[in-house]
């Protein structure tokens, strides 16, 4: 696998729209071709080399290409957008839309990510080791069809609207989530190891959600079914005792959504 290393060479002011930083765009290009790819910064376009030093040539296909991004990329948006194969590793933090509409391959962010990570993702693996902001794996504004495939792993905390409109794929959060986690979920799996605030799985019609921590304000449209313990969804394991709910009755008369809530952490339920 050919490796291209991008290193930030300047202090980035206005955020950079770097949707060209994908294995698909890089594929088949040599160092100088990659350097001259254009990115928008505000109203102007610049070559990628205005922001990054480039080392190495890409492979012949996205699959054969690995990109490593170094330096302060916290003001770089859309890294890995729509990528279909190969690998991207970001050593620091990223701005919005990392892995947005991603279809395949592997994208690793070692720092934090801003909002819209993995928006409407269709496939592949997006792994964020730090915290993320809003709308992880969510539908775009105005839409109710979010992530439909692939996997997002967040080791830290996530903010609001995680997995909004998710219809397939999995989101695993190591820490806590904010409001509206899994709103309008209609398929797929969301597993939260930590706590959630409110409107968890609101308007859910299908799919599965697991909350291992405490839910501050439980959604009213869910009906208690039974207790289950030590859940396992393929390779995703959720040990412990869980109360199983069906919902959301607020949105449909025949809900098929399953919400598991850790019994010990939610004694008032």
């Amino acid at each position: 696998m050919a490796e291209v290393i991008l290193t930030v060479n300047t202090e980035i002011g206005i955020k950079v729209e770097a949707d060209v930083i994908t294995t698909d765009t890089f594929a088949g290009k040599n160092k100088s071709e990659i350097e001259s790819l254009l990115v928008w910064q505000g109203p102007k376009q610049f070559p990628l080399s205005s922001f990054f030093d480039v080392e190495g040539d890409a492979g012949s296909s996205a699959e054969d290409t690995s990109i490593v991004v170094k330096g302060d990329t916290s003001r770089v948006k859309r890294i890995g957008e729509k990528m279909t194969a190969g690998k991207i590793t970001v050593e620091g933090s990223v701005s919005m839309h990392v892995g947005s509409q991603m279809e395949g391959g592997e994208l690793l962010v070692k720092g934090d990510a801003d909002s819209w990570a993995g928006m409407e993702m269709k496939g592949g693996l997006l792994h964020i080791e730090g915290n993320v902001k809003d709308h992880v794996g969510c539908a775009y504004r105005g839409k109710w069809v979010g992530m439909s495939g692939g996997r997002i792993v967040v080791d830290g905390n996530a903010n609001n609207n995680l997995g909004g409109g998710i219809s397939g794929g999995e989101i695993v959060v190591g820490g806590n989530v904010g409001h509206y986690c899994g709103i309008r979920q209609n398929g797929g799996l969301i597993a939260v190891k930590g706590n959630a605030i409110r409107a968890v799985a609101a308007e859910m019609t299908a799919g599965t959600m697991v909350v291992n921590g405490t839910i501050e304000r439980f959604s009213p449209g869910f009906e208690y079914m039974t207790n289950e313990s030590d859940l396992k969804f393929d390779d995703i394991e959720c040990p412990g005792n869980f109360k199983k709910f069906l919902g959301d009755n607020a949105i449909t008369k025949r809900p098929k959504g399953t919400l598991y809530v850790n019994q010990a952490a939610n004694m008032d339920l």
Binding site: A139, Y140, G142, K143, W144
Partner: protein
């Protein structure tokens, strides 16, 4: 010299002059079609060699929702419509976004890329006329106009209930001038008023609340007023019960109402020279027939009711229809028929918007996705094409998608190609739900339209039907120099190679407006001057005086003052009044 151009040796399709693919040269001088150019003019004229290409008059769309309050509500409601369909700016164009409800600039560019030069907004609520004109003046590339919604207007309902046709006519005349609009649109007559009370009307003889007027009385009255005044277009009808299984029967009854009314077009204008009489024949122009042609009693036994309606139209000579085709994919339903949109919103379970326009009408907006996997949507696709293929005389039909209700206007090329290619229809049958074939008659239709037919459906007849054939839709001497050149060689058309046709219709090689190349192979090359048409209708002074007394008295029900009601001419680009009923 600007606006002077020669299009040489193209295969010309000009149905109003019965030119069917003959090789001809088109001469345009100072923006108008002329029979020839002098040697002196020829020196300065731009010459386009159109050998082996299809040459048609510029496209005319007679029914499209592209300007005004509900279009803008669609834009505001649908951020998701914009982010995947974007257009960058160039040195002369603005940027834009939106698939089904594009921003104003993009609407103009996209129409121009397809070869259109004239588009009429299908529904202008009187109180929203200013807003509509504000948008129309920002839409580049197109000559425009709009139809005024009057089927549930309090003044109209009162006058027609009382049978006071003279004052009703005076009101229409005053309203057209006041709002700078072009023709009468009638949406779910008497029903939208009931929607203010959470109800609708379900038959032609059901009187509505308070006004106690029936759809029959409204249709009869508006048709009578329309022909009495000699309006350019006939009454433009969106029939009652739209979108409900079984509604085709209501539609058929509604069409019968105007059968005995004689068309009367009384315009003080200069007519372009055409071989065929370009004045309109019809006394009713039914819009989006597909949505008005549902048969069955529920969504379970839903089927196409186009056949019986088409049979009726085939035997009648007072009707023109536009199709309201469904090309699949994203759409934004928007109509003055508030209750119909509510029904759509109940089906989708998604977001919707509803508005009551004080004393005048209402509107609703609801995003919609037509899926090939859905039995009803698939049937609707077949029905839209049935509307155009089962009616034998192309001069009774107009191609639309009721944009963006059935789908955005950018999908017209698909519809044109389905009409021309049975192979393409078969291909779509194989991809969509079997109901398309089982519940319609489209599968048994082997008619393939010619380029001549397409020119009728998208230019000649649209212009004729709405009374614009005096300057649009033909290459008659004196007509506007609007031309579309498609890179289609008529002698080499193979309708089995349908994807090629789709591409060629999507991007005209040249779009020429007023004798100037405004778009070349999809690239906007100049931003032309354009006009806004409205009707300036005369009525006897005494009638107008009495009518205005009523209007001022009733104006207390409005939330704003009488003086703020009119739309001044400064809201229009090149306001172009068409004088009507000038005998008065």
């Amino acid at each position: 010299m600007t606006g002077t151009i020669v299009i040489k040796n193209g295969s010309v399709y000009d149905p109003l002059n019965e030119v069917n693919g003959e090789k001809q040269d088109i001469f345009i001088k100072d923006g108008k079609v002329v029979s020839e150019l002098s040697d002196a003019d020829m020196k300065d004229a731009k010459v386009i060699d159109a050998t082996g290409k299809t040459v048609m008059p510029g496209g005319v769309d007679s029914h499209s929702h592209i300007a005004g309050a509900k279009v803008n509500v669609g834009r505001m409601m649908r951020p998701e419509d914009g982010y995947k369909a974007t257009m960058g700016k160039t040195a002369i164009t603005h940027s834009g976004s939106g698939e089904t409800v594009p921003s104003v600039y993009m609407e103009g560019y996209e129409y121009s890329q397809m070869g259109y030069t004239t588009v009429f907004e299908a529904a202008v609520p009187p109180m929203e006329a200013r807003h509509t004109h504000e948008e129309m003046r920002s839409i580049p590339m197109l000559d425009m106009g709009g139809y005024l919604v009057l089927g549930n207007n309090w003044f109209m309902m009162r006058y027609l209930k009382e049978g006071d046709i003279d004052r009703a006519a005076a009101y229409v005349s005053w309203m057209m001038k006041t709002h700078k609009t072009y023709g009468i649109k009638c949406v779910n007559p008497a029903g939208v008023e009931n929607w203010g009370w959470g109800k609708n009307v379900s038959s032609l003889d059901e009187a509505n609340i308070h006004f106690e007027v029936t759809p029959r009385e409204m249709i009869d009255g508006l048709t009578e007023v329309n022909e009495m005044l000699g309006m350019p277009m006939s009454m433009h009808l969106h029939a009652n019960n739209l979108g409900h299984p079984g509604c085709y029967e209501t539609t058929k009854e509604s069409l019968k109402l105007s059968s005995s009314v004689k068309a009367n077009q009384d315009m003080d204008i200069e007519w372009a020279e055409t071989k065929i009489d370009p004045s309109r024949d019809q006394s009713v122009y039914l819009t989006h027939m597909q949505f008005n042609a549902f048969a069955g009693t529920s969504w379970r036994d839903f089927e196409s009711g186009v056949k019986p309606l088409a049979d009726y139209v085939n035997n009648a000579d007072h009707v023109v229809i536009d199709s309201g085709c469904v090309p699949f994919g994203e759409a934004t339903c928007m109509t003055g028929d508030g209750p119909a949109i509510h029904d759509v919103a109940v089906l989708t379970g998604g977001k919707w918007s509803n508005t009551d326009v004080e004393l005048e009408c209402g509107a609703g907006v609801c995003p919609f996705t037509y899926l090939k996997s859905n039995p009803v949507h698939s049937t609707q696709w077949a029905m839209g094409l049935e509307c155009l293929l089962l009616i034998d005389d192309p001069w009774k039909t107009i191609m639309t998608t009721d944009s963006p209700n059935g789908g955005p206007f950018t999908k017209y090329p698909l519809v044109m190609t389905w009409l021309m290619s049975e192979k393409f229809r078969d291909q779509t049958f194989s991809e969509c739900h079997k109901w398309a074939n089982d519940r319609s008659t489209l599968g048994g239709v082997d008619r393939e339209m010619s380029l001549y037919d397409i020119a009728i459906l998208t230019r000649a007849n649209t212009a004729k039907t709405i009374g614009m054939a005096h300057r649009k839709g033909s290459f008659g001497v004196g007509a506007d120099g609007d031309v579309t050149i498609y890179d289609i060689d008529p002698s080499k058309i193979d309708t089995r190679e349908y994807s090629d046709l789709i591409n060629k219709f999507s991007t005209a090689e040249y779009t020429i407006k007023d004798g100037q190349v405004v778009c070349h192979n999809g690239e906007i090359t100049m931003i032309p001057e354009r006009r806004t048409y409205y009707t300036d209708v005369s009525v006897p002074d005494a009638n107008e005086k009495e009518m205005l007394k009523d209007v001022q008295e009733w104006f207390r029900y409005y939330s704003h003052g009488f003086n703020h009601y009119p739309t001044p001419e400064k809201y229009l680009v090149n306001p172009t009044a068409i004088k009507v009923n000038t005998e008065q």
